[in-house]
Symmetry: C2
């Protein structure tokens, strides 16, 4: 098959795995820490300071994304961006990804190429120097992409969730609530009469509500602000994946403090900001008087106590996203 | 739900992700290189020599395993073993895994616990000190497990596929062909009248043909022989995942040599040894006169030329496993 001319109709079922990989690899970004790249049993990466940061996240067709709404390019972009954000939330600079994809045999190779393009352009825009150093390609009834990301702490201590102290200031970089508002809009208005994801309706929403819909489908987390926060001495930090209320509670619990959020800092829809997940913005805590770096803005303060407060009053709503509760089975 | 008593009937759909993780985590092995373990946005691992080895591999229900044949424990074991083998094939000592699982909401938590048990016991037996440092749990219509494994080169150069030189000896540690014979047996005799995987028939095969069936379902690759080969100066090495003929050809191509295999060293069924995949044994090449370390045994020699020879004659059969060719859709 490797000798046949390429066509847009080639699928994973019609070409060999090796041929599919041959077409995908040149589109993937190169990593600045590669010692030995793809092609052997494993890659070898440099860890200049003797440590490396690791995170993994899987996106599954149905619960995590739907082809009716996400183009293959969007999926590649989001799979990179959400993992890069977890690396940045440790205060590290993302250096490399490995990517495992399981796809139906009917998947066109051009769709895999578009996923590779999304991975490449997300790395180039959000984390220059970060590249794909390895991967795996399998066949599956359910499209699945698993990304493992690596980062370099550049000699600094990692910024954990547990270092917040009373008196510290709480800041956020990136949008609050937009990705969740975008997802709700897609579920409400991006579907056909039977409730199935509709590419046509989604295209209209993408045009008319670009900010929130793209925040959901192609997020731009503020990756470079993670290392900036670490350099500015952040005492705690995390990636806002499950909504501000739930994620702030995680920092409060890990640090043994309470976090008091100023609702006036949460924009036009504070409830959405508190409850909506998938923003992948960064929540960081700084010593009082710190000049906030990069795109960070003040949204509250650390106080004695437990849990989350809003404007000084206990706030017990959790919000957030649990895949086993949130999945309604609409998987088109 | 976290306050309800645990029962064997709990499923991913009936408990929250957090509760499922709370039950799984204590069963996972700890890693000797952990600086920051699970629970934050990412893990931090030590890389004492300033480099680390990385590989990733995904197993999908249907093409890669079938619940009719594999118990959850077997799946966890095999997912660990196959990744550990890729690390060992670089000459590195496996140090850590991250594990992402996507499972149907009907999956029982006890099944996930058994997968964790398999991961733990495979690490303990094959690569002591290697642990699980992070993961992800998602819901999916198709059970999928993606493992990314890490290793430490202990200051040595990685052993690539490209270093074999004419005159070197070719050696193997571990079985040749057994896993493929076991898989063929399962497909031929481990099915019901409709051709679907049958747990009852598989149990009989497991009892009556334990060696080959367990080589397929719960392989024991010779992980510690990877670093031993590197210390003995191996010039090339790889993990035999796609059959000796295809994998030896990869070494020959990468090294610009030919590999001549002695059929009398391949056991009772040389054709199965050449063509069958998934043994995850190690093929290593050593300078002439090297005392073969660990479990390595002589199977051939490196000569001038290209490709693979058997008993001096060109051998152009490929064998091996391509998931898009080999999958016949039987997924029960």
């Amino acid at each position: 098959m490797a000798d046949s001319p390429e066509t847009d109709d080639d699928t994973l079922g019609s070409v060999h795995e090796r041929e599919a990989l041959r077409r995908i690899f040149p589109r993937l970004p190169e990593s600045s820490v590669t010692v030995i790249g793809p092609g052997d049993d494993a890659a070898v990466l440099a860890a200049p300071d003797g440590r490396y940061v690791v995170t993994t996240d899987m996106m599954v067709h149905g619960p995590d994304f739907r082809w009716g709404w996400s183009a293959p390019y969007d999926l590649g972009w989001k799979a990179a961006a959400t993992n890069l954000s977890d690396i940045a939330a440790m205060g590290a600079v993302p250096t490399a990804l490995v990517v495992a994809i399981a796809a139906p045999a009917t998947t066109r190779v051009t769709e895999l190429e578009a996923i590779a393009d999304g991975l490449r352009e997300a790395c180039a825009e959000l984390a220059p120097g970060c590249g794909v150093v390895g991967g795996d390609l399998s066949v599956s009834a359910t499209f699945t992409i698993a990304v493992t990301a690596f980062g370099d702490l550049e000699g600094r201590a990692p910024v954990l969730r547990s270092g917040a102290r009373p008196g510290d200031v709480v800041a956020v970089s990136g949008p609050l609530g937009a990705a969740g508002v975008g997802l709700r809009l897609l579920f409400e208005a991006g579907v056909d009469a039977q409730g199935r994801p509709s590419p046509e309706r989604a295209a209209e929403l993408r045009r008319d509500h670009a900010e929130v819909v793209l925040a959901q489908l192609r997020p731009h987390p503020p990756i470079s602000d993670g290392p900036l926060a670490a350099r500015a001495g952040a005492t705690a930090m995390l990636d806002l994946s499950d909504g501000l209320a739930l994620d702030a509670r995680r920092v409060a619990e890990a640090s043994g403090v309470a976090i008091d959020i100023d609702s006036s800092a949460l924009g036009a829809d504070p409830l959405a900001a508190l409850a909506s997940g998938e923003d992948h913005s960064l929540l960081a805590v700084f010593a009082p008087g710190t000049e906030l770096p990069g795109g960070f803005r003040h949204i509250g303060s650390v106080v004695e106590g437990t849990g989350v407060l809003v404007d000084g009053r206990p706030y017990d709503e959790l919000g957030g996203w649990d895949p086993y509760v949130g999945w309604d089975g609409r998987s088109g």
